[in-house]
Structure formats: C-alpha cells, structure tokens
C-alpha cells in the first residue's frame, strides 16, 4: 500500500529558536534540486521520506514525520510501502529520488546492499558529531552495519535496534518449569533428548535467513571479537579454522532430525510459512527458535492469553565464557543524489531526539482483523532508551551486564559478484543439512568458496 502524506506548514508561532536554524537548512538544500528530474513535483523544501512498512506498522512514521514538521516547519512527503524496494527502484530509475530512506540491510530484495554496491548512498559521518556519538550506545556505529565498506566512514544510520537470541516457550522452559534454561550447548542438546522423550522438538527456525544473527553471535562466541570482525571482512581461514568449524558443526547438530521440528523446512519454504514455525513454539511443539523482539507483536493474534515468551542468548560452548549477544539494527540512509541532503541529515539527527525516542517506545500496532491495538515498542539506540521499556520479556531481551559482549555488523559490502546470492549460499544449506541432503563438509566447502569470491571483490 502506498500512502502519500503531505502536510502543510504548521503554525509559525510554534517555531522555536532552534527550529529557525533548521529552517535555514530547509532552504539550503536547493542547490542541486534540478537533479530531481521531471517528476520531482514541488520545490526542494519538501523532504521526501521513504519508509518501509513492516512489523512496526505505518503509524509510527506518520507520527515521527509530523513531529519533525512541527519542530522545523519543513514539509515532509512520506512514502510508505511494504514493497519499498520495488517502489523506490521504479522512482529512482524515473529520476524521482527520495531524500531519506528507511530500509534495512539483510532484506531478501537486497535493495540497500545494491544501493551501496552502486555507491549511491551518501557519506553521513558528519551527522555523528561527538555530542551525538556520546549519546548513542557504545559500539553501535563501529560495525559494518553502519560502516558497510569498513573504511571508517558512516553511511548507514542505525535508528532502531533489538537484541537477538533464542526465543522460547516460557510456559515450558524456565525455573520450576518442565525444562531448565540451558546456558551451554551441552545442556541445550541434553534438553533436546529430554524434549524428544516427551514428544517435543528442541528447535525450529522461521526461515534459514533467521540464522544470520545466530551465526554472527556464534562466530563471536567461538573466536572473540577480532576473529568475528575478520570473518565479516572475509578472512580466508574463517570456516576452516577450529572456531568456524565448531560453529558449523553445532548448527548442524541443532537442526539435525533429532532436534528439529519436522515441519520446519517445509514451512520455511512456503509463502507465509515462517509464522507457522513460530506458532510451533507457542504451541509447545518446539522449544526454541532464533528471533527478535518483533516476534511478540507479530504473533500477538494467535498467542493465547496465558502464554509467556522467554528469551536467552545463544548458548555458549563453556559456562565461564562471556556471552556474545548480537544486536540487530535497522538502518536509515540518504541517497547520494538526494536533493535535500542537509535537511535529510537534520532528520537523521532528529531520529535520536527524546521526542522520537518516546514516540517509538509508545508505539502500538493495530490488528487488521479485530482492530485491537497492542504494544509494540521500538527502541532507538541511545543510552537509557531500553531502560524505559515496561518490565516484561521485551525489556529482558535487551540484555546488559558485565559478561555480555554486544556484537554488531553484517557481512561487509563488496563489489557486485555475478551469480552470488549471499543469503542463499550462506544460510540456504541449513535447510539441506536439516534434511540430511547435505553434509557439514559440503557446507564448509561452499562457504570457503563464497568467502574467496567476496574477498576478491573487496579490493
């Protein structure tokens, strides 16, 4: 669904001193406005915001842009779409370039990755001055999720985050419940035996792509931060090393027929089937799955009232290790050819303001069927935001503590490689391994090949 929302100037009397300086920015971007092409209607004082309409709902973007208009007096034209990649591809080809885009890395369409490969994303390092950096979570700007080329320059602004891990059925797993929460892989697999005896499966996964966060966390857990960062930039030894092999063997055991819920692979490969896999955890057919805090809202429709979610870090290999927790960020970026780059940068800054932090925490989503609203808080990666969450499983999913090592980043962006589907070749084999159609050796060999291709394309 495409909605265009153009709001007129808000009453001038509201404009504060601060906003006046921003108003200057509104006009400042007009220098290269002709690049907007034939279809750029109106003048460059309009900030064109294009946002992906996903699990967070549409309303939050309407609120944020309205608040920005109020704060600055600029006009915002908002394009919301759940197929934003296709809409924007069309618009950009047509010369209609948005000023700012909210679309994550790691989506199936690879839209953001493609824009990066085409070097069509603007460098926004100067947005993150020391003041803003100090306000934001430590380390959140360091990884390849903000610096995709690994060259010290920031191109992607992490605007939302959530910590990932294994989500579980807390009615069955937990203190005093049928099963104890495992901390190590040995405990995890023992639990698998126990569950199997009860006719339950230990594990399921929505789709193989959900293993991204798990594998990032496992790599960091197995080899430490240096090893992990090298892996992200395609170090040749990543998968042949003991650490890498350990990760692959453990994943293979986790998805082997002993542990996996039998319908997992079928559902993972049918339209909308990922939800059925998630439901299996709610129904107690499987105990754990890799996921993020969005799953709570996503499954709210079919979750019984007495059901409780639990979340834990990906298990460790030994109990005394630090816990690596992968932090999933959602990104916003500015196209290099945008007409209003300066104003767009102001908008990114605005995303970290208290106004937006509070709006995001108060976010609700509406059930299309019943019209019921449910809480669906979004957390902005500034210090203290997660603490403001109401107590509950979502808050507990934001783990902190001395022994927690936060891990961020994604596989580094390379020059385009013909015939390579990164997601498909890294995580796709998990389906085959689960079926027994592929061995760990074959997976390892495939990964080594992919890493070699990517390393060559990095230069």
């Amino acid at each position: 669904m495409k909605k265009k929302m153009v709001k007129k100037l808000i009453s001038v009397s509201l404009v504060s001193v601060m906003a006046v300086s921003m108003l200057a920015a509104c006009g400042g971007g007009s220098s290269n406005s002709d690049e907007g092409g034939a279809s750029s209607e109106g003048d460059s004082n309009v900030l064109k915001v294009a946002a992906f309409e996903g699990g967070n709902g549409a309303e939050i973007w309407e609120k944020i842009t309205a608040a920005f208009e109020e704060e600055t007096g600029c006009e915002v034209e908002l394009t919301l779409s759940s197929e934003l990649d296709q809409v924007l591809t069309k618009n950009i080809q047509n010369g209609d370039i948005p000023d700012i885009v909210y679309y994550n890395l790691g989506q199936a369409s690879g839209f953001t990755e493609t824009m990066l490969k085409e070097e069509a994303v603007a460098d926004i390092s100067d947005v993150f001055d020391d003041e803003l950096k100090g306000k934001m979570l430590d380390g959140i700007l360091d990884g390849t999720a903000a610096q995709p080329y690994g060259d010290g320059k920031i191109y992607l602004a992490p605007i939302f985050y959530t910590q990932t891990g294994f989500w579980y059925n807390a009615n069955l797993v937990g203190e005093g419940k049928e099963y104890a929460v495992p901390t190590t892989w040995d405990e995890m697999f023992e639990l698998g035996q126990q569950a199997k005896a009860d006719g339950r499966a230990l594990f399921t996964y929505p789709q193989p792509g959900y293993f991204d966060a798990t594998i990032y966390a496992m790599l960091a857990q197995a080899g430490g931060t240096d090893f992990y960062n090298k892996a992200l930039t395609y170090d040749a030894n990543t998968w042949t090393s003991d650490e890498g092999r350990k990760v692959l063997d453990t994943v293979a055991e986790l998805v082997s027929s002993d542990n996996i819920w039998a319908d997992t692979v079928s559902n993972a490969n049918t339209d909308g089937g990922f939800k059925i896999n998630q439901q299996a955890v709610i129904d107690g057919e499987a105990l754990f799955m890799p996921n993020g805090s969005w799953v709570v809202g996503e499954m709210a429709n079919s979750t019984p009232a007495d059901y409780e979610w639990g979340v834990m870090g990906v298990p460790k290999w030994s109990a005394d290790e630090d816990q690596a927790v992968y932090t999933f960020t959602e990104q916003m970026w500015i196209p290099a050819d945008a007409a209003n780059i300066d104003l767009a940068k102001e908008f990114i800054k605005f995303m970290y303001s208290d106004t937006v932090v509070d709006l995001c925490l108060a976010n609700k989503t509406t059930n299309a069927e019943t019209g019921e609203e449910s809480d669906s808080p979004i957390v902005v990666p500034v210090k203290g935001a997660a603490d403001k969450l109401p107590d509950g499983v979502i808050k507990s999913s934001f783990q902190t503590g001395d022994d927690v090592v936060a891990v961020t980043g994604t596989w580094a962006t390379t020059a385009p490689i013909e015939g390579l589907d990164m997601k498909g070749s890294v995580y796709g084999p998990i389906d085959s391994i689960s079926n027994g159609a592929m061995t760990v050796d074959e997976w390892q060999k495939q990964l080594v090949d992919v890493w070699e291709q990517c390393a060559n394309a990095m230069e």
Partner: protein, 290 residues
C-alpha cells in the same frame, strides 16, 4: 465371449469415471475451500489442532470489508475493467487486419514478417518490462510531460502489443482454413479489399475472434507485472491483490488474504459460467488448427 467384453467395458467405464471424478474433486475442493477460508478468523488457520476442513466458527465477513478498504479494491476494479476492455478493443482492431493480410495474401517479405511475429511469442514479458518502463520514463523526460507512465491507455496499448503475436498466430491459422472462393466472389461483385475484409471475412472468423477475446480477457485481467511496474494510482485489480497479499503476508492475516483472492476470482468465475458455452464452442469451431 460377449459377456467378457461387457465386463471389460464396465471396468473400463468405472476406471474412466474414477479418473474424471478424481480430477473434478481436485479442482472443486480447493476452490471451494478458498471460499470457505475467506470467512475464517486468523486463529483458525495457525496453531495446534486447527483443522483446515472445519467450517468457519462464524462468518467473518469483516475480512471482505478490510480487503476492500485496505487494498482499495473498488478503485482497482474499475481500472481493471477499463484497461481490459480497451486492450481487447485495440488488440482486435490491430490484430485482425494483420492476421488477415498475412494469411490471405502473397507478397514480398511475408515470410520474414511471419517469422518476426512468431519470434515475438518467445519474448517473455517478464524481462522486457524494465526496458519498457525506462523507455516510457525517457519519453516523459524528453517531452517534459507526465503522460506515458501511470496511464491506462498506454497500459492497454502495451497489453495489446504483448499479445499481438499470439493473436495473429491464432487468427491467421483460422483465416488459412477458409476457402479462397469467398474473396474471389466478393471481388467479382465489386467489393474492395477493405470491404471484403470487414464485411465478409472478419464476420466469418467470429468463432476464432471469440476465442481470442476470451483468452486475452483472462490474461489481461490477471496480469500484474507490467501493471505494477508502469502504473501507480491507476493500477489494476491484480496489483491490488498483490499489494494486499504483501501487506497481509507481513501481518499474515490469512482470512483477509483469502478474501482478496475471492474478490479477484469471482468476476472471472461469473464471466466463465456465462460464456463457457461460447468458449468451448468457439474452440470447437475456431480452435487451433496446426
């Protein structure tokens, strides 16, 4: 001897009926199931112990309202009607003379033209849609207008063009089977080429024209890749459905999704029931003759 023959005949009949009925069931059951599913609540689809064969607990007609409102199905419906009708009209006006000329006259370059139109059959619209979009976009920029994109007429022209190859192939196949004598008689009577074609030959090709209309109606009505790419606010029903499915897939509201499927399916089914006699008759009379 005769008795044995009778028994094999009966067995044969039973097997044949079994096959026919199996096929019928495999078609009717899923289609009926979608109708039923469109009235179910989401909770009846996912989770333990949900039985796909169970009747809806209550008639969740709200699904249809949501589908209509969310996907603006009403607007898209009207656009689909306009675009489909316009495309069919254009297609016939252009394809009929071409098919007639190609099949009833001998002239230089006929062979090349035939091969060229045949080659058009192998061009898959899925990969030329982006070049088409870029061409229209460039035309807009060159002329400084907003005319070529999101225009129902242009979409119709493209639809008509995309099915010209197939239609000319089908129609000229039929024209070839008509005896030569008709035209000669007409010429002797003093009819010109145009009059002969319009008043004598085209009416004779009615059955195959009907076949073209019915086939292309379906493909125009169901098409979504071109419509999605070059249309925006004036998009068609299939795009509306695709949008609806994309939204409901992220939200996974199965009931609403199936309601959308039904909304798109119903006009086609109704039309089919109305014209199925002509359709099969059209094929009998004008069907493809190699």
């Amino acid at each position: 001897m005769k008795k044995q023959n009778l028994i094999t005949k009966i067995i044969f009949k039973i097997i044949v009926y079994a096959a026919l009925i199996a096929m019928t069931v495999s078609i009717l059951v899923p289609v009926a199931w979608v109708f039923m599913a469109s009235f179910k609540r989401n909770a009846e689809f996912i989770g333990q112990g949900t039985n796909p064969w169970a009747l809806p607990e209550q008639l969740q007609y709200q699904n249809y309202i949501t589908a209509f409102v969310d996907a603006e199905m009403g607007k898209y419906f009207l656009n689909s009607v306009i675009v489909t009708a316009l495309s069919l009209a254009l297609l016939l006006v252009i394809a009929l003379p071409a098919a007639y000329a190609l099949s009833r006259f001998d002239f230089k370059g006929k062979k090349i033209l035939n091969i060229a139109f045949m080659a058009g059959l192998f061009v898959n619209i899925n990969y030329i849609v982006v070049p088409i979009f870029l061409m229209l976009s460039d035309a807009n920029k060159a002329l400084g207008v907003e005319f070529f994109l999101d225009n129902r007429f242009i979409l119709s022209v493209i639809y008509a063009s995309s099915s010209l190859s197939f239609s000319i192939y089908l129609l000229s196949g039929y024209f070839k089977t008509l005896p030569k004598g008709f035209e000669e008689a007409a010429y002797i009577d003093g009819c010109g080429y145009l009059k002969t074609m319009v008043q004598i030959m085209i009416p004779m090709a009615k059955p195959s024209i009907l076949t073209v209309i019915l086939f292309q109606f379906l493909s125009f009505w169901n098409e979504y890749i071109i419509a999605f790419t070059i249309m925006d606010d004036n998009s068609t029903l299939a795009v509306g459905l695709k949008n609806l499915m994309a939204v409901e897939r992220t939200a996974t509201n199965y009931g609403i999704m199936y309601a959308g499927l039904v909304i798109v399916m119903i006009p086609v089914l109704i039309l089919y029931v109305c014209v199925q006699k002509q359709l099969t008759k059209g094929m009998t009379l004008g069907g493809l003759k190699g």
